[in-house]
């Protein structure tokens, strides 16, 4: 949903590290009790809610378990499947579309680990942050969400107004890491 001219100015490209702004897709924050999240996961066709700090794919949607009571859902441009919205119409919950609030990047490159280490105290090595793990944390002074999509790729999202701050932080960190 990001505007292309804004997105391009937020791209980071240094030796051994690139941050490519994400384009398209929609974002939903779903909060509810255990049974509600369980029911929503089943409406997506999954057998259970992803465990705490884990993710699960369902068609073109991804469910990210950011908190015991919260699922963050990334969907295609079409949004939530009808089975899910129908189910959520029958139980108490809080579902908020936050597509316009979020801005994100795909992070890659052989200096990825060093660059991330300069932004966050989290240990993002494979043994403590395996593929599929996701969490909110701080990047510098900005609240953000980081998700390991495969061994050498991370997906990072922050609130839109943190975009320029985080892109310049990543640029500086990548420059340091490459030096």
């Amino acid at each position: 949903m990001s505007d292309v001219s804004v997105s391009n100015s937020l791209a980071v490209s240094r030796a051994g590290f690139t941050a490519t702004p994400l384009k398209g897709g929609r974002r939903f924050a779903l909060q509810g009790r255990k049974d509600t999240l369980e029911g929503a996961a089943r409406a997506f066709g999954l057998s259970e809610t992803p465990a705490m700090l884990k993710s699960a794919a369902a068609g073109d949607c991804t469910l990210l378990r950011l908190a015991p009571q919260e699922l963050f859902i990334i969907t295609g441009d079409a949004g939530l499947p009808e089975a899910v919205t129908t189910y959520l119409g029958t139980v108490p919950n809080s579902l908020v579309e936050v597509s316009e609030r979020q801005i994100g990047w795909t992070l890659e490159g052989e200096k990825l680990r060093d660059t991330l280490a300069a932004l966050s105290p989290l240990d993002m090595r494979e043994r403590s942050f395996p593929v599929g793990m996701v969490t909110r944390t701080l990047f510098g002074k900005a609240d953000g969400m980081v998700w390991r999509t495969d061994e050498n790729t991370f997906h990072l999202e922050v609130w839109r107004s943190f975009g320029p701050y985080l892109s310049s932080m990543m640029d500086a960190a990548a420059l340091d890491a490459a030096w």
Binding site: L66, A67, P68, R136, T137, L138
Partner: protein, 101 residues
Amino acid sequence: MLLIRCPYCGERAEVEFSNGGEAHIDRPRDPMSLTDEEWAQFLYMRDNPKGLIAERWRHAHGCNRFFNAIRDTRTDRFVVTYEIGQPRPEVTPEQAAEAAR
């Protein structure tokens, strides 16, 4: 770097958390029946111990949940963290000595 164990996310850096004051302070069920002194006691008076304290913490830059923790105010060492709603856990003399170290 001080690590705090969130009961839901595991050990995280202290910067991800915010302190929520002393734990296990129940709001009076019927405030209207209280004297001004009793109400002031509930609102303002805290133990402020030198040593072990049970406090509320919030994983503000993580899962966003409140939880309780027992911490030594002299050393900042955490003895244990536990979910809201659970009773204050017993601290063994060995744990207390370790936290005071």
